[in-house]
Subunit: 555 residues, 2 copies
C-alpha cells in the first residue's frame, strides 16, 4: 500500500527520476488526489465508509477494492433510481483512449520544473546530479561503514519522534465532489484545544426525502447542537457521532446550522477530518485544533533611538587587538549602542568599555556556541552581527538596514563586507527517507521597493536580523570551528533573508601584525580557523543525521 | 466595514460579552461564513467577482450590496432558465419566522462554553471577570497616563509588523456551495516557493453546454496546463488568469486535470485563494505556498547513554556554597553528565569541577538572561533545569522523565520539588486589539499511558525539556529578577507541557547558614530576589506591550 505520510511524495509510482519525465509527476499527483469519476454516488459513500478508518483516503488499492465491491451490490439497487446522464464520459480510462488528447513535449514544459538548473518536480527520491561546476557530497561516503546501518536506524527513529512533535498540518488532498447537495466549510474551522465552536455552513440543499438522515462524525472532539430538539431527532449529543433524523428539512438545516464541536484532548496543533453524510452523499472537512501563541512585540520607545532598537553582537577569540579596533570604530558612529561580546579565549582579558557587555566562556567552546550565547542576551528587537575583525566606516549605516527590516517582512538583511556582497540560494528536496540540499550562488529575485536589495537564502557575515526568529533558528553549538552556511540551512523555512549592496562594513587587513606577540596570537588563531578534512567530515556526518540528508551539492 | 483580520473575532456583531449569550456567538459564526442561500447561482458568481478583490470574502456589507445589485440585474435574465425548486425554504429569514425552531436555554448549553469557570466562546472583546478567589490585573492601570496613548499606538504598529512576519495561515471560512458541478481540491494544494505543481482534481461534471468556458485565477503565481492544445483553446499560459474555451467536455477536463501552478514570489508561508469559474458557477480553493524546513535531529549515540541525551543546566548568583552542594549531589548519581552553569555573581569564583562548564556574565544581568545563556550552550537533545539550591536524591531519576519525553509528543515534563508538584493552566483569549490571559492552578487532563502524569501549561522549576523547542521559546533576558510563569506564557502554543509526580528533587533548606559570611551572602541574595511592587509594575508594563494583553487574571 502506498505510503500515507503527507509530506513525502507518494510511492506506488514509477521510481525513475530521469528528468524531464512527466509520468512520475502525473502519477504522484493522481495518487495524492481522490478518485473523481465514480458514477454511482451511493457507491462512493460506501467506499468512503470503508476508507474512513484510513482518514487520509490516500490508499487507492483498498479504495478500488471497496468501490468495486460496493458497486457490484449497489448497481442493481441504484439502477431504478438512476436519473443522471451517464457520467462515463468523464472517466479517465476513456479519455486515455482518445489519441488527440496529448501532453506537451519535454522541451515545452521543462522550463516549468527546472530551477537553477535542478529538476525540481515532485519525486519519490531526490538526487544530487553530478554536472559541470557542481560539487556533490554523498553523505554516506563520510560515515564509517561498520556504523552506517546503526546510524540509519537511529536516524529513522529520531525522525519519527520529531514528526510526532512537529506534525504536518497539510493533509492528503481531498477533492470536493461535484454536484453534491451538501454545504460545509471547505478549508475547515479552527478551534482552540478543549474549547467549543459552532461549525458554520453545514446544510443539505435541494434534496427531497421522506425521512432525512444525516450523520456527523469526529475523532478528536465531541459534537452537539444548540438547537432545542428532542432525543428522537438528535442522538449522540456530546459524543463523537451525531445522528439527525427528521422529515422536516427546515428543522434539519436549523439543527445543522447550530452544530457545535468540542475539542477533548489538549493538543497544540492537530487536524480532525470530520465526515458529513446524508443518505446518498458524503463530504469531509477538517476541524483544525490549534493553540494560538501570544504575540511577542518589542517596544522601540517613544523616540525610536537606534540604541533602543539594535544591539551589536560579536564573538571574539584571542584577537583582542582587533576587537578593540572594532569597538573604537563603532563608537565613532554609534556612541550609545550596546555591544555584546562572547569570548572563549584561553586567557580572557578584561574589557572595560562603556556599554560593552563581556561574556566569558570555557576555552575554545567554539564559534557557533559563542554566536548563540551572544544573541541569547539581546533585549532589543534587532541585533547586528559583526565579526571581531571588522571596521565600521561612514558607509556602515545601520539605519538603512533598519529601514529595510521595518518596512518589509524580511527577518534578516545582509550588507557587504569590504564592498563584497555574497548571497546564495538553498534548494531543498524532501525524499521518502532523506532529503537533498543544493546551494547555489545568487539570489531569487529583487526585493520589492528596494532596488539595491534582493531576496535570497543566505548572506555574508554582516547582517541586521530580528532577534526572535534568529533565536528560534539558533546557532548550533556543535559547530565549533569553521561554519557559515549551516546557520542558513537551519534557518530554511523560518528566516526570510535579503541582501542589500548599499550598506558596507570594512575588514581589518590580514597583514601580519607589526608586533611579534601579536603575530604569535594570529598564528594560534589560524590553527583553530582552518577548515581541515577532519572538519569537513565532522560536518557532513553531523548533517547526515541532524538534517536527515542524503547528499549536498554546491556551485 | 467589519474587520477582516482572520484571527480576531468579527466586528459588526453585538459587542456585549455577557455570558452566557449565544447571540454574539451565532452572529460571529455567521459573519465568518459565506452566504449560503443564494437562489440564483449566476448571481452568486457575480457577487464573487465583485468580492474577489477582498480575497477573504469577509465583508458582508459589501457583499450584500453586490448581491443585491447583481440579483436585480440577473433576476429577469435568469427567470427563463430557472429550473430548480424554490430554495427559499432554506433561507434563514423564513426559518426564523417559524416559532418551533428554537435554541437551547442557557442552562443547557453553557457547559459547552465554560472552562475553568471562564466563559470562553468567541467574542469581539475579552475580559478578566472579577469573581471570588480570582486576582485581576488590568494592565493599563500600571502605565503612566501621560504615556498611555503613545504606548498604545506604538504597540499597534509593532503588532502590524509582527503580523506581516507571522502571517495567519487560517483563512476566513469559505463554504462549499451545494450542487455545484465543479470538482476541486477542498483544502488546497501545497507548493514550494518558486516551484511548480500540478493541481489535482479540477473538473466540470454533469453540465451540457454548446461552448464551455472556464476561467482560473491566481494572484501569487502563474498558471499553465501540460495539455498540448492550441492558443484558441487555452489562453493565458504563464499568466495569472487561464481561460479555457472548448465545446469538447472531455478535452476540457483533460486540460483541467493537467493545470499547473507556479509560485512567483519567494515567500515562506502564504495562501493564494484561487478561483475556478464555469459560466454559471464559481468555486474557490487555496494554494498554500510553503517553504519546508530541514528536520533537526539529535543523535543519541549507539549506546543511548544519559550523558549523550541530557545536559544539566542551572543559573547561579552569589551562592557558591549551595551550588557546590548541588554539584556534589548530582555526581553521586550521575558521574558523567555535563553540567552547564551560568553565573552573574559580582565577584565570580572559579569552578574547577570535571565536566562542569562555567559561563561568566556581567554582574546582575539577571535570572532569565542566565537561563537563556545556559540553554544556548546545550548540545544534547534534552536539558534538565535545576535551581542552584536543589539537591539530587535517590528519587531524582532522570531516566523516568526521559522515558516520558521519548515516548510522547510532550516538549517538557516537570517533576516535583521536595514532594510538591505544581502545575497551572494558561487560558488565552484573543480580542480585536488586545488579549486576556487567565492562569488557573491545575492541569488539563491525565497524560495517556502515564498514570502519574498530567498535561498542563506550566510546571515547577524542575523539568526535563527538549532543547529545540525551549530555545525557540527562549527565556526573555528582560526578566532580570523574579519570574517563572512568564516562560510558560511565552511557550503557549509552542511547548506541550506535562507534569509527573513520581520524580522528585530535594531543596536545600532556607535556614540561615552557620557561618557569618554566608549569612551576609544570603542577605545580599534576598535583596535581589524579592518581588517588589516595582518588579510587579515592570512586568505588567512589559506584558502589556510585549504580549499585547489587556488584563491578566490568576487563581
Amino acid at each position: 500500500m502506498p505510503s500515507c505520510a503527507s509530506n513525502a511524495p507518494r510511492s506506488g509510482c514509477p521510481s525513475t527520476i530521469t528528468a524531464p519525465d512527466l509520468s512520475q509527476l502525473i502519477c504522484l499527483t493522481k495518487v495524492q488526489g481522490m478518485e473523481l469519476a465514480v458514477p454511482f454516488l451511493s457507491c462512493q459513500r460506501r467506499a468512503a465508509w470503508g476508507a474512513r478508518k484510513a482518514t487520509h483516503l490516500c490508499c487507492p488499492s483498498m479504495k478500488y477494492f471497496l468501490i468495486l465491491l460496493s458497486c457490484t451490490i449497489v448497481v442493481f439497487l441504484a439502477s431504478m433510481r438512476w436519473q443522471r446522464p451517464a457520467e462515463s464520459q468523464i472517466k479517465e480510462e476513456i479519455s486515455e483512449a482518445r489519441s488527440d488528447l496529448k501532453l506537451l513535449s519535454p522541451e515545452k514544459y521543462k522550463s516549468l520544473f527546472i530551477y537553477s538548473g535542478i529538476w525540481l518536480a515532485p519525486k519519490n527520491q531526490c538526487e544530487c546530479a553530478k554536472v559541470d561546476h557542481v560539487h556533490v557530497y554523498e553523505m554516506e561516503d563520510y560515515i564509517d561503514k561498520k556504523d552506517l546501518a546503526s546510524v540509519k536506524e537511529r536516524r529513522q527513529k529520531e525522525f519519527e519522534h520529531y514528526q510526532k512533535r512537529y506534525p504536518s498540518m497539510t493533509q492528503d488532498i481531498v477533492i470536493a465532489k461535484p454536484n453534491v447537495p451538501l454545504s460545509y466549510p471547505i478549508q475547515g474551522v479552527e478551534v482552540m484545544p478543549l474549547h467549543t465552536i459552532m461549525i458554520p455552513g453545514l446544510g443539505l440543499h435541494g434534496v427531497t426525502e421522506e425521512k432525512y438522515q444525516v450523520i456527523l462524525r469526529a475523532s478528536l472532539g465531541t459534537l452537539n447542537t444548540l438547537a432545542d430538539v428532542s432525543d428522537d431527532v438528535v442522538r449522540g449529543r456530546g459524543k463523537k457521532e451525531l445522528l439527525i433524523l427528521t422529515s422536516d428539512v427546515e428543522l434539519l438545516n436549523f439543527i445543522l446550522e447550530h452544530v457545535t464541536y468540542t475539542s477533548v484532548v489538549y493538543q497544540l496543533s492537530a487536524v480532525d477530518m470530520m465526515s458529513f453524510e446524508s443518505r446518498d452523499h458524503v463530504a469531509q472537512f477538517p476541524v483544525i485544533i490549534r493553540q494560538p501563541s501570544l504575540p511577542k512585540l518589542f517596544d522601540p520607545g517613544a523616540d525610536r533611538k537606534i540604541s533602543s532598537l539594535v544591539t551589536i553582537t560579536t564573538k571574539t577569540f584571542l584577537r583582542y587587538h582587533k576587537l578593540q579596533l572594532l569597538i573604537k570604530s563603532i563608537r565613532q558612529y554609534y556612541p550609545d549602542i550596546k555591544i555584546i561580546v562572547a569570548d572563549d579565549s584561553e586567557v580572557p582579558e578584561k574589557i572595560i568599555e562603556e556599554n560593552v557587555e563581556h561574556y566569558i566562556m570555557p576555552f575554545g567552546k567554539g564559534w557557533f556556541a559563542g554566536r548563540n550565547l551572544a544573541i541569547s542576551q539581546v533585549t532589543t528587537k534587532y541585533y547586528l552581527w559583526v565579526d571581531d575583525d571588522y571596521l565600521f566606516t561612514e558607509n556602515t549605516k545601520i539605519e538603512k538596514l533598519l529601514d529595510v527590516l521595518e518596512r518589509t517582512n524580511l527577518d534578516m538583511v545582509g550588507g557587504s563586507v569590504n564592498g563584497n556582497t555574497y548571497s546564495f540560494q538553498l534548494l531543498y528536496e524532501q525524499g521518502d527517507d532523506s532529503g537533498c540540499l543544493h546551494l547555489r550562488y545568487g539570489s531569487f529575485h529583487k526585493l520589492e521597493g528596494f532596488p539595491n536589495c534582493v531576496v535570497t537564502s543566505g548572506v555574508v557575515n554582516f547582517y541586521l536580523a530580528h532577534t526572535d526568529k534568529s533565536r528560534h533558528v539558533g546557532y548550533d553549538p556543535l559547530l565549533q570551528r569553521v561554519a557559515h552556511s549551516e546557520f542558513f540551512m537551519d534557518g530554511l523555512g523560518i528566516l526570510l533573508v535579503g541582501s542589500c549592496s548599499d550598506v558596507s562594513i570594512g575588514h581589518q587587513a590580514h597583514n601580519p601584525a607589526s608586533e611579534p606577540n601579536l603575530t604569535k596570537v594570529e598564528d594560534q588563531y589560524k590553527r583553530f580557523r582552518t577548515n581541515t578534512q577532519a572538519q569537513v567530515q565532522f560536518k557532513l556526518t553531523l548533517h547526515y543525521f541532524k538534517n536527515q540528508l542524503k547528499c549536498y551539492s554546491t556551485r
